[in-house]
Structures are given as structure tokens and as C-alpha cells.
Symmetry: C2
Subunit: 424 residues, 2 copies
């Protein structure tokens, strides 16, 4: 045990007991049929609506405590629930009930010469730990996505939203119970003790996957400490490459959307890479379009447009999540690809060009979860990809990359049907 977990409160035993029950519930959920899972979701939506007033009242306690603790306005806004937000949460559960069931899909099928029929079939993963921060609705969304994909989930929300989260989980469990499913399928780590997070990350016996959702320090902690598998992204340092054969007006319009539509999302462009041949024409056009957005570049960029401020060494590795853009001038696509390989966080990169060959090269050679041609990086989102909903975005190479939706919350197994075959 580390010093952190050597407390009076035994976080390991506490989390282990919850996780063992979740594992039992996962066994039941794995063979629950679609109608039963959907009934749990629609009943949970009803319970949220029925308990809206209680939930908003409990949320008031969280908000008051956060204000007293001097939290930022942005934090308070993410934390706050009102009638409309509760209704949106309930509607989201109903939408997830309406999505196709990802379990039982036949992913591959083969008949062998010896008569064995082999199917690869989608199955639940098992028990998923979800660690998130202030936004209470993440608990409802994540609970619903895990339930629909046949997984038990253990939720660990931010300690600042615990009063709100308790009631949300109560409603979700009411839905489970009314549908005849085990309540432990959606469980809450009901303690603000941070050692509980460490215990969840180490619980390889009962937990199959942990997904963190929140700020960089939370995600970094999960990445560094987890003994269980994880799906996560630390950074969204997304690049927007204006190739020499780009339509520059189109590029300026798309760049402005990619950078400024919402600056706080992980698919927002943080770095502009532009070919030297067109930089003189493009940069002034881009700066006109970007308006008040601050642009930082090296000397060659500053020389082209005086509105560009000198970049520091770490600018090209910074996810601003703000109205700031770094710019790098390159001598053609080879240097662009090398620059992106060196600085990308493997989230999303886009090339703007009318040259089909350059576009294909970029789409092939850039090793990111999402690579785009002539499109805004802000499209990097499960909803925009037609997944219906997402629980997060992954930038690792294993299991799932990009938006993590229902299909990505599944594993698979092989079903082999024979008639008494023996292996020679």
C-alpha cells in the first residue's frame, strides 16, 4: 500500500466490494435482452423527471458549496442543474434506448472444411469504471451507454457533485429494478476520498476497463496509475494543414470554424501548418477571418503578418482550449508530415487541399485517430460520426480509437458449433 491509501478508511476493500457486486451484475446484464435494457433506460428517464425537483434541490447544495469554495464561474456552470438540464438528461436516456443494441452482432462468420461453424460475436466488456469531474449529467450518459452495451458500470463523479450524483444514480437504479435487472449494474463510489480512485484503477480482479473524462491532470493520473486497461485521450493538439494546392478562401473559412466554433472542445484546432508557397497569401486572409483570435508563430510567420505574435518553444505542444492558435510555416508536405508526427497528440488532423494525391498521402501517413480532408476538425465527435452518443474519445492504438460509442464498448467471443469434431 502506498502512503496515499494507508488511511483509516480502507478504500481498497470498499471499492473491491462494490466491484465484486458489479461483476455479478455484469453476468446477468450480459444476457439481458434488448427490450429489458431499453425498459430500464426509459424507466430511469421517468424517474429522473419524477425526481427533478429533488435533484435540482440537491444540486443546489453542491453549487452552494462550490461557490463557497471559490470555484470559477465555468466550473459552477458545468456543475449546475436546472429543470431544462434534467429534462435533457432524461431525453438522452430515451435516445440511447432508441439506438441499436451492439450486443450479439455477428462480426465475422466462417464455415471450416471440417464442418465447424465459427462466429465472432459482440459481447459486453464486463465491468467499466467511469471517472469524471464536475458535470453530473456524465453519470447518466455513461450509465446509459454502459447499460445498453450490457456492461456494469462503477461511477466515480467529482466529489463536488456528490449530492447531485447520488440522486441521478438512484433514478438509474430505479429503472434497473423496474426492468428486473440488478441494481448493482450501475454503482456509485460514494466517497470523496481520492484513494478510492487509486483502488478502482488497481482493481484488476473485477474491473475490465476504466474511462476517465475530465481535465488533463485527472486523465494523466489515470494513465499513469491504472493497472486495468483504459480508453482515454490526454490532449487534443489538433493540426490544420493548408497545403500549397488549397483553395485559400475555403481554407480560411474552415480554419475559423475548426479553431473558434467552440474553443474548449478536444477536436478544436490548436495549430495551423501552412506551406511557405501560399503562406504570404493565406496568413493575412486567415487572420482577417479569425478576428480577435491570438495567433503565435515563428519569425517567418511574424514577418508575413505583423498581427502574429512570437511563439515560445512550447507553443507547438500546447492544447490551448482557448482563442489562441500556433502557426508553423513549412516547406511542403514532407516537412508538414514530420512536424505533425512530432507534435500531434494523435487526436484529429485535417489537410486543406484541392490536390487529391496530397490528400490521400496525408490520410494514409498521418497516424491519428481521425484524419480529415477539407473538413473542420470540430467534426471529430461521436454524434457527427453517426454513433448516436459517445462516452469519450480515445487516442491510444488498442481496442478503440476516436469517438467511443456503443460499438466500442463491446468485446467479442468466438462461438464454435460442431457435431462431435475431434482435432487430428
Amino acid at each position: 500500500m502506498t502512503a496515499e491509501t494507508r488511511t483509516e478508511f480502507d478504500a481498497c476493500a470498499y471499492v473491491d466490494a462494490i466491484a465484486a457486486k458489479a461483476e455479478q451484475a455484469a453476468r446477468v446484464l450480459a444476457s439481458a435482452d434488448t427490450a429489458q435494457k431499453n425498459a430500464a433506460l426509459t424507466r430511469a428517464a421517468k424517474a429522473l423527471r419524477d425526481n427533478a425537483a429533488r435533484l435540482v434541490e440537491a444540486n443546489g447544495l453542491d453549487v452552494d458549496a462550490a461557490k463557497a469554495a471559490g470555484r470559477t464561474d465555468a466550473f459552477i456552470d458545468r456543475l449546475t442543474l436546472d429543470g431544462d438540464r434534467v429534462e435533457a438528461m432524461a431525453t438522452a436516456l430515451e435516445q440511447i434506448a432508441g439506438l441499436p443494441d451492439p450486443i450479439g452482432r455477428i462480426l465475422h462468420e466462417t464455415d471450416r472444411p471440417n464442418g465447424l461453424k465459427i462466429q465472432r460475436v459482440a459481447t459486453p466488456i464486463g465491468v467499466i469504471g467511469m471517472i469524471y469531474e464536475s458535470r453530473p449529467n456524465v453519470g447518466a450518459d455513461a450509465g446509459a451507454l454502459c447499460l445498453k452495451s450490457g456492461n456494469a458500470v462503477i461511477l466515480r463523479g467529482g466529489s463536488e457533485s456528490l449530492n447531485s450524483t447520488r440522486i441521478i444514480i438512484e433514478c438509474m437504479r430505479e429503472g434497473l429494478a423496474e426492468a428486473g435487472l440488478p441494481e448493482a449494474a450501475i454503482s456509485l463510489i460514494d466517497t470523496p476520498d481520492r484513494a478510492a480512485v487509486g483502488a478502482l484503477l488497481s482493481c484488476t480482479e473485477h474491473v475490465d476497463l476504466v474511462i476517465p473524462r475530465g481535465g488533463k491532470s485527472l486523465v494523466a493520473r489515470v494513465r499513469d496509475e491504472a493497472k486495468v486497461p483504459t480508453l482515454l485521450h490526454l490532449d487534443g493538439n489538433c493540426h490544420f494543414y493548408v497545403h500549397e494546392a488549397a483553395d485559400l478562401d475555403k481554407a480560411a473559412t474552415v480554419l475559423t470554424n475548426a479553431k473558434l466554433r467552440r474553443t474548449g472542445v478536444c477536436g478544436a484546432t490548436e495549430s495551423l501548418v501552412v506551406d511557405r508557397k501560399v503562406a504570404g497569401d493565406f496568413l493575412p486572409k486567415a487572420l482577417d477571418s479569425l478576428g480577435a483570435c491570438e495567433v503565435r508563430g515563428e519569425a517567418d510567420a511574424v514577418k508575413i503578418d505583423g498581427r502574429i505574435k512570437p511563439a515560445a518553444a512550447n507553443d507547438f505542444d500546447t492544447e490551448y482550449l482557448d482563442a489562441i492558435l500556433s502557426v508553423k510555416v513549412v516547406d511542403g508536405i514532407d516537412e508538414a508530415l514530420d512536424f505533425i508526427a512530432a507534435h500531434s497528440s494523435s487526436h484529429t488532423e485535417s489537410i486543406l487541399t484541392e490536390d487529391a494525391e496530397a490528400a490521400e498521402r496525408f490520410l494514409t501517413e498521418v497516424d491519428s485517430a481521425v484524419v480529415m480532408h477539407n473538413a473542420s476538425t470540430q467534426f471529430s465527435d461521436g454524434g457527427e460520426f453517426g454513433m448516436g452518443a459517445e462516452i469519450g474519445i480515445a487516442t491510444g492504438k488498442m481496442h478503440a480509437r476516436g469517438p467511443v460509442g456503443l460499438e466500442q464498448l463491446t468485446s467479442f467471443k468466438y462461438r464454435v458449433r460442431g457435431s462431435g469434431q475431434t482435432r487430428p
Copy 2:
């Protein structure tokens, strides 16, 4: 640094330098075309044949040292190469060249209402670490599978086979060089220092995946120490369930194959579960068929057939890898499913029954990589599944389960093609 890595030799720096070069090579390999990869494989096969005498000679040094160290006959056999075994290695490379290229497959495609065309495309994983023990041919097989799937590989064979492995890798790299591909795509950790294994398992900056292949202590070390993702199986404690509606003659024949065809493979049956209703008829039949195989059971089984020896508490959790079988008598399919859930290592389980409903329930509810109906567990193998070749078997839930072949050595990315779309 742990005590283990605090040696004169800086294992971390050594492995890091190899892995950084492998990562560069992986970038090149990711866009190599199929013909180029196949050329590297067939040239490597030729190099192996051309160097067969040198390889057998170097292998002699390894074998002599292993004999002097008092290694078992089985170990010496796994280590030994002769002309036939070198030829088999070369042929395996040519067979892998003949398999379909798993890279670039379109896994999913969708056209969005806004005109964006989104494809999910198979890509290499990147850099794969392969840790194995005495059998030198694993280096050639794993190198070839990684190369064909566009991945760079870092091989760490058993220190006892280092003289052999050096020449095998030399031949593989000759193939790469002749095909115009970077030699660092197949790299060797050329030191017997065990700290190098720890360094590889911690090298999250450059290594995307580690696959161990060998005995339980090696695999357990990888599972416990790895900071990078892994694909592995620790145990193959496979169950063979004879349901009350089984054809008992068929069941005895299939069981004998499942247990005894080869006892040392991970898909061999280790535990027989039999319904009480048929145990009296089945067990004597099974024991007749199993011949000299030792069978261990609880008192109720011993009572049915005196050839059954009393089982100890840990028998039901033991992967014998030998001509020994544990037997558990159960009161129907519910108890069988609970027993398997409690003792299975999630590798392979088979039900023998003529009752289709019971079979479907077993195939649905047993949560193992491979579940079978009326078939020998020894079919749990990439070759038997039509994959052409396998690098290992995985029993985790993430990324790949069951045999790990070329397709399982891939990741994916999303390619989004637009015409200047911005997100509203």
C-alpha cells in the same frame, strides 16, 4: 528506478534507443505496400535457407550451453534447430507472405447528411514488443506477422537462444533491406540482462503493445509489470461440460481428443464437468476411453468409478498441461455455468449436448474467448480458425480475444473526406 534496474548497464537507455528507431521504422512500414512487405518476407526466407548451416552451427552453441546448464530434455528439444526446422521456418515466412494484407481494409463506411464521407480503415498498431522463451522460431514467426501487418517489432527471445536468434534476425533484416524497408522494423534486444524486459514493459513513449509467449512465470511478470498494453493469456484452464442430453459415446470420444491429443497446449481440456444424471453412465465410459490419463474428483465422482483419485482443493484451478484431468459432478446447467464462471481462465470451454437450447445458453452465458458446442477444445487455434497463423492467444476483454492473427495485430483510424464542411 527499482533495485533490479539499478545496474551498471543502463537497460532503460538501451531499450529506449532501440524503440525510438523502431518507431521511426514503423512510420515507414505503415505506408509500405503489400508487394514490398511480401518481398521482404520471401527474401528473408531465402536468407534463412542460405544461412541454414551457420544457423544450425550457432544453435549448437546454445544447445551445448543449455545441456551444460542441466536443462530438461523438453527444453533442449524446443531450443534445437536442424535443417528441417530451419526449412519449416523459411516456409512459414512464405506462407505469411501469401496471406491477405490486413492493412487498409475498410472496416466501416458511412456517408453523412452533410456530405462527409467517413471510413474506418485498418492501420498498423505501431511498435510491438515480443517477449518469448526458448523456441527460436517464434522470433521468425512473430517478426513475419508483425511485418505483414505493418508493425515494427522488438524481439526479446530467451537468453538461452541468443546465438540462434541473432542469426534469424540478421536474415529477417536482410529481407527488409533487400525490399527497401528499414532494418529497424525488426529489432533485437541483444542482451541477456533481465532488466531489459522491465525497460521494454515500461517504454510507453515508443512501444504500443507487448505480447509475451512462454511459461506462466514469464506471462505473469508481463501482466504485473507492464505499463504498455498487452495481449496475453496466463492460463488455459479449459472446461469440457457433458450435459444431461449429451450423446455419451460422442462425448467420450471428443473428451479424449480434447484432453489427450496434445496435453501441453493451452487449448487442452483440464477439467470435466458432468451432469449428475448422466455421470454414472458417462464417467466409466470416459475413463475407459482416457486410458492412462489420471482423473481426480470429489467423493461423489470417486464413488462412481474407483479409478478416480480424490481431488485436492486446488485441482479445479490447475492447468495441468499433462495427462491429468479434474472432474466435477454438477446438478444441471445452472451449477455448471456457476462452476465454470468461478474456475475458468476465460480461454476455451465446450458443451457436449444434443439439446439445442442448452447449447445456445452455454454459448451465450459462458464468458470465454472461445465457446464451443460438440467440439474438442483443442480446435482453439488461429490455424484451425482459418487465420493462417497466430502470434498468441488472448484472454483479456480489450482489443482481441482468442487467437491473435494478422487482423488482430491492427488498429484503425477514421478517414473523413469533405469539400469544405464547417460544423454548425
